[in-house]
């Protein structure tokens, strides 16, 4: 890492005037990046961005990380952003460079991750002529971004680049793309500092309405069966929001559940935490959601993975919904008190109001509620039996548990990314996160192949931290080329593959919904992951039975460089508990013994 950027060649000259050196568009762009505090760019060169790469070559302020595929550049930038709170920056070329980035941009859009992607474009005179590597990038990415721009005049370049950062990080964060025709980066362009005036039309609201917060607190203090339902908005708001959430949950004594994206905002090992809710959430979290009388949704958006059958979602509760994005209010579930604003500010205002109204929770009712919750907890919905005979097959849940326990023994700051599927849910259920920004996963879009490039981004941001990608063998093959990036930058990333030789979640749904007809879900012709690792200059390790698991995990954690650990796990394991699609929270499947009872409705079959 270039911890101390050398800014001399890029620092804006405050006495700029006539006679100064004329900067090229590419140099102006890099100046803007320095102004915006950018230290790292993830990218891949190509014809239309050569001028920018040339300018990058001639400076030291900004580090460029060369990925092996543009999709990976965006995922790496997302993880960089998610784990640091800064804006992730991507640089790709025109045409295929930009189209390859689209999946990453939609991923960032769905999970509200601040990313700015600069894409090259053919020169302005060539736009619309089907030139080599030309694509209508702003047209293609319009629904894939929070906002995008095609810069047509050199005079707009600096302003637009500054604005892109402001829009990406403010309000509900998201990806912004800036398409830069080559003639504008080659030719001269005027530099401008970040504008000090407000944006004319984009004015996100962050300060919540006190009257709404007061009404929310009034309902909370009268609650007999309250529940906090927290989401990724709290992580986006910053670490101070998570800290405030901790205070609010403790001062009220209410139980707290979280979405997949919100894990870590409230410590998952805390007694007041019920585990994740939703399709693969815990029994106690889902039953509490179903049975609560006041539901306090903070920075969460009632995703279909969370709600299950809508007409049976938390049917008797008074609903409070705090969100920074007005379009999330009443989108899926009608709420009684909407609060528009930043999640962290809302929580702090709730704490103030709680004190101002001298609120005291209904302790008798709360005690009863906790008694009920503890009874649900007694079901132990995440429980699994691991045969401890050394030759026994490893159950994937056990592998994640041991990974967590042994990683904690190292005492190192640990970041976990995942791919998408069963392993992701087992990671969410069995790895614990007591701090925010440590959990990097693709929630809304569910992008297989997210985890390995995300680990790259997290490790670049935190060179001394332990970064683990908990992966499935099918998902990780979607961006396995990033082992090259890991090798080039000597990133000590640990790729921990739960290898069941199936697209496990696809197989599970085929078992439950399609008569166990495993159409195309078997991972045939898998590579030898140990030798694959070695060919990418990493250490390869393998565990095929319980007796080998701890040694492999310990060796992986002790290894100073990159490791690919291929963990053979039970092939037929399903992810439980599960709310089958179209079912309600109180109709959960707890384990395989209930599989025969699955009656998925015709409507449920049509749901994803």
């Amino acid at each position: 890492m270039n911890a101390t950027p050398n800014l001399n060649d890029l620092k804006p000259n405050t006495r700029a005037g006539a006679g100064d050196v004329v900067l090229s568009g590419a140099e102006v762009l890099l100046r803007v990046l320095v102004d915006q505090g950018v230290e790292v760019i993830f990218g891949y060169p190509g014809g239309a961005v050569l001028p920018i790469y040339d300018a990058l070559f001639r400076q030291n302020a900004i580090r460029h990380v060369l990925v092996r595929h543009e999709q990976a550049a965006v995922h790496a930038a997302e993880a960089y952003a998610r784990s640091t709170g800064k804006v992730g920056v991507v640089l790709v070329t025109s045409g295929p460079g930009a189209t390859n980035a689209v999946t990453g941009l939609v991923d960032a859009l769905m999970d509200s991750i601040p990313v700015v992607c600069f894409s090259g474009q053919v020169g302005v005179p060539l736009i619309g002529t089907d030139a080599f590597q030309e694509a209508d990038t702003t047209g293609i990415t319009r629904p894939a971004t929070k906002h995008n721009y095609l810069v047509r005049r050199a005079g707009d370049l600096a302003r637009v680049a500054h604005e892109a950062f402001y829009i990406a990080r403010s309000g509900r964060p998201g990806p912004v793309l800036v398409d830069l025709p080559k003639n504008l980066t080659v030719g001269p362009a005027p530099y401008q500092p970040a504008p000090r005036t407000a944006h004319p039309s984009y004015r996100p609201r962050t300060e919540p309405d006190r009257e709404a917060v007061a009404r929310a607190v009034a309902a909370m203090k009268g609650a007999k069966r309250p529940l906090f339902y927290t989401g990724g908005g709290i992580i986006n708001s910053g670490p101070q929001a998570s800290e405030a959430l901790g205070r609010l949950v403790r001062m009220t004594g209410f139980p707290c559940t979280s979405t997949l994206m919100g894990l870590g905002a409230f410590p998952t090992t805390d007694r007041q935490f019920l585990g994740m809710l939703g399709m693969h959430g815990t029994y106690e979290a889902n039953l509490a959601t179903h049975g609560c009388d006041v539901l306090v949704a903070l920075g969460a958006r009632f995703d279909d993975r969370v709600t299950g059958r809508l007409d049976a979602f938390s049917p008797d509760s008074f609903k409070i919904h705090a969100d920074i994005d007005p379009s999330q209010i009443d989108k899926i579930v009608r709420v009684d008190v909407p609060i528009l604003g930043d999640a962290g500010r809302t929580i702090e205002m709730m704490i103030e109001e709680w004190a101002r109204q001298s609120a005291t929770p209904d302790n008798a009712a709360l005690a009863q509620w906790w008694q009920q919750i503890n009874a649900w907890r007694g079901i132990r919905s995440l429980h699994f039996e691991q045969d401890m005979t050394p030759s026994a097959i490893i159950r994937p849940q056990y592998a994640v548990r041991r990974l967590y326990e042994l990683a904690m023994e190292t005492g190192r700051d640990t970041y976990v990314s995942t791919e998408v599927g069963q392993h992701q849910m087992w990671a969410a259920q069995h790895f614990q996160f007591d701090r925010p920004n440590r959990w990097l996963t693709s929630g809304g879009l569910g992008t297989m192949g997210y985890g390995l490039p995300a680990a790259v981004g997290a490790q670049i941001a935190h060179p001394d931290a332990l970064v683990i990608d908990i992966a499935g063998e099918a998902s990780t093959l979607m961006n396995i080329q990033e082992l090259g990036t890991i090798a080039q930058y000597r990133l000590p990333v640990k790729l921990f593959i739960l290898n069941n030789q199936y697209m496990g979640m696809v197989r599970q749904w085929q078992e439950l919904l399609h008569g166990s007809r495993y159409s195309e879900s078997y991972s045939a012709a898998l590579p030898d992951f140990v030798r694959l690792a070695e060919s990418f200059h990493a250490r390869g390790m393998r565990a095929t039975c319980v007796g080998e698991l701890d040694d492999v995990i310990r060796a992986m954690l002790a290894e100073p460089g990159a490791v690919v650990a291929d963990i053979s796990v039970a092939q037929d394991e399903n992810c439980y508990p599960m709310i089958p699609s179209g079912a309600a929270h109180n109709q959960m499947l707890l384990g395989p013994e209930q599989d025969g009872e699955v009656t998925v409705s015709a409507e449920g079959r049509m749901l994803v």
């Binding site: 702003t138 047209g139 095609l150």
Partner: protein, 171 residues
């Protein structure tokens, strides 16, 4: 989306946007991408000095969908204001149609008589055809066109609805 049955209502949504390239594509792409209806659409610059355009969309949906449309459009970066004129109270909504009728004899005379009754102007006349210009509410234009159908209706060009709130209020 919604847990209770609701009736579909029609709404006139007026949107003030920054007059920049691609802004119309953003708005209509949002409608098609999220499955909202567009029954008619007009767009033109309205404040040249401030580079603003006004988009008027006639749409339909449950009240919850209409609320969503407003919220989703409102979060587009170049959008200054979104208003549901139907919800704001009384408003004037007008569109213009150019209607070509090709006929002769009795039908031609009848077409002219009906045009007079509707206060449609003949803006082009030949021995065998008229082009009528007609301004009014959408249902007035619809009935005029229906009446022209048996009288040699050949072609219709409509602008879509432009709308504004009655009285001193603005959006």
């Amino acid at each position: 989306m919604t847990t209770q049955e609701e009736t579909t209502i029609s709404a006139v949504i007026s949107i003030l946007v920054e007059n920049e390239s691609g802004v119309l594509a953003r708005v209509i792409g949002l409608f098609s991408g999220r499955g909202y209806n567009i029954e008619s659409l007009t767009v033109a610059p309205v404040e040249e000095s401030r580079h603003q355009s006004r988009i008027n969309v006639v749409t339909s949906g449950t009240p919850q969908v209409i609320e969503q449309i407003k919220a989703q459009v409102g979060r587009l970066v170049p959008v200054y204001r979104v208003s549901d004129l139907t919800a704001l109270g009384p408003h004037v909504a007008r569109e213009m149609a150019l209607v070509k009728v090709v006929s002769s004899g009795e039908a031609r005379t009848e077409a002219l008589r009906i045009a007079e009754a509707f206060r449609a102007r003949a803006v082009d006349t030949t021995a065998t055809s008229f082009v009528f210009e007609l301004t009014g509410a959408t249902d007035k234009l619809d009935s005029f066109i229906d009446l022209m159908r048996p009288l040699g209706l050949a072609e219709v060009s409509r602008t879509g609805v432009a709308a504004i709130v009655r009285g001193p209020r603005t959006i």
